[in-house]
Symmetry: C2
Subunit: 386 residues, 2 copies
């Protein structure tokens, strides 16, 4: 019986993790839940799963006497073995480090944790002998393909659906509305990650995550556009052989694999690929030029230091500005790019320096937005970092 | 350093195995070679690799004082660790059993060994703690996908190129010439296996082999037509996830994997997949109706006993009759089918009973050929087994 804490239980990944736990009551038990804004849903989850502890922005209005704790306390709770980090933004970083220091197995769905602080998180996990398991479908695919391999692989090939606008021209991209961007052709996800998929920022963040999860250099992580999202990623070995992991585009599969690892559990609720309906799996090289967020992300990952944290923060602000109709779709890449260009990097940063870079980047990105009083003004105390 | 014997060194697989050994002289050493009819090539191989022992149908005409031994003696030679069985037809069966009894690791390229005597071979391997490693690209793919998996998989999906005639109508199939059948669109192989690929008999034999190699029931082994032969096979797990192994259609990859297992060795001579050129991987369910050899093979595998040996023998005779222009392409399936129908099965046969069934089937198949004096005569001592 694995005893589980879910950080971000009311989000898309959190809810799907609870679907898995609901289907496998003999193997999995909810010990703690942490939600945020959706208090009504958290209350329902608490009533159903009766966790020993919970965390939310406000005390739930239900007759239930569990412990009311912080995210860090939830993540290091003595009765928890396994922490699913499915928070949005940087909220998962500090609880992830708390879970690692308490020796819990961590399953990561939140991209920001490794993108912002990969070096620190990987070092702490190594010090405490803790495993970081991926939940993202691409990283889960790589991880599955690496099972049982004794020798370092040569190359990772992350697949990307390309999002809804992969065939759009620059002028078409400039006209994309938030409503269009929120309609992903394959995956059902939260709002931020859906927009990130459309800009391909999401794939760039995944490259940085893959670098930290699997210790591959950026030059040995490739991207292939694969519109059907059936091949979730591939690994190429030194002898020219490749392995790919395939499955229906349903996040419950990688969530369950992280929970069942190193076993696999039958679960009739999970969808099967129907080969009578799959006629072709298509692939094409990615076009970095048309999706500058992808290039910005990979460059930020290669530069390291505080750049990836700045990337995350600027993107979060820019996506929010786009969703509230204040900038265009192509404005997202522009704001991210400008913020990175204005940043002065700190190599091998501490957690405090990462958080300071995050705060700086948010302010800088906001100043870049149209209508902001300081728009186009160069902050006097910040030189060009690159 | 692995010390290797190759049975069938002058055949297609044997020559490619020597290519791998030539490229990796620090890991691999040829200790013994066994060829058959191509004495000139065997002489060249002996001059190059200076094996301690060799076997051939006649003594080679070269100044070399290695031991001249039988195939069984080669397979159980005290200085050999690893035996590659790449003979054609049933010739590999007895030496494979000799290798197993002598505790050698056996890498199997010869389909007949497991198809004819899978139960005996698997039992002997288990008794002697010997590993049977597959060299066929499909079985190597399955084996690679199963690495590191703790739980029994749900289903194997063998891919099939479909051969050169997959879109042909029945009347077009009847007109196929040996010259056409020997031109495989993707793989370069020996004559018998190339014709077997065109009738899909080859895929049926692979289903029987997969049954014995991986202990899967026939109902849990599926076939997918995949014309590009890039995905070499797939495994579906109980949680709905699949793994596939991919690579250029080049037999040197699975040969090297068997030799390097559980490691993987870099080898710059092996081809790489070029993803800038792969636009689509196509799949479709197999049409058993149009390729009756496939159905005959799977049925023979399910029935077990001496049926699979009869299948192999009848097919070998029928392919030879086709290649010598004595029967049509569709006549191959007819002869195989008729021979199976005339056979009286022996369940759990001994090796002697398997060999007797082989002899009987060859005679029966020959009698079915046009122009044979006993054509269409029912052998009086053999009732219908099924």
């Amino acid at each position: 019986m694995k005893r589980i804490a879910i950080l971000g239980s009311t989000g898309s990944i959190g809810q799907q993790a609870l679907d898995i736990i609901r289907a496998l009551p003999d193997q999995l038990q909810v010990v703690a839940l942490a939600g945020d804004k959706n208090l009504k849903l958290l209350e329902r989850q608490i009533r159903e799963f009766r966790p020993k502890a919970f965390c939310s922005s406000a005390k739930p209005d239900i007759d239930y006497r569990g412990e009311f704790l912080s995210m860090e306390e939830i993540a290091s709770h003595p009765e928890v073995d396994f922490v699913i980090v499915a928070t949005s933004g940087k909220a998962g970083l500090s609880p992830t480090l708390a879970a690692i220091k308490a020796g819990k197995t961590v399953a990561l769905a939140s991209k920001e944790v490794l993108v912002m602080a990969g070096e620190i998180v990987v070092r702490e996990a190594s010090c405490h002998g803790v495993r970081i398991l991926p939940i993202d479908s691409e990283h889960s695919a790589v991880w599955q393909c690496l099972q049982g391999e004794e020798d370092k692989a040569q190359r990772l090939l992350l697949t990307a659906s390309g999002g809804p606008f992969y065939r759009y021209s620059q002028s078409q991209l400039a006209e994309v509305t938030p409503e269009q961007a929120l309609r992903h052709p394959v995956w059902k996800m939260g709002r931020k990650v859906t927009v990130d998929s459309a800009t391909l920022m999401n794939k760039g963040l995944e490259v940085i995550e893959a670098h930290w999860l699997f210790s591959f250099t950026f030059d040995s992580i490739g991207i292939l556009i694969h519109p059907q999202s059936i091949v979730h990623s591939m690994v190429e070995f030194v002898d020219g052989s490749l392995k790919a992991q395939l499955g229906s585009p349903d996040m419950r599969l990688p969530i369950q694999y992280a929970l069942s690892y190193p076993r696999r559990w039958p679960n009739s609720e999970l969808p099967r690929l129907d080969w009578s309906k799959i006629q072709a799996l298509n692939f094409e090289p990615v076009d970095y030029g048309r999706f500058p967020c992808l290039k910005s992300a990979v460059d930020a990952g290669k530069s390291g230091g505080t750049y990836p944290a700045v990337l995350c923060a600027a993107d979060e602000v820019a996506v929010e500005l786009f969703l509230s109709h204040r900038i265009s779709f192509t404005g997202i890449a522009r704001i991210v790019q400008e913020t990175l260009e204005r940043h002065r990097n700190t190599a091998r940063p501490s957690l405090e320096e990462i958080m300071a870079a995050d705060t700086w980047a948010r302010e800088c990105a906001m100043r870049s937005s149209p209508g902001h009083p300081e728009e186009a003004e160069q902050p006097s105390d910040l030189g060009r970092g690159r």
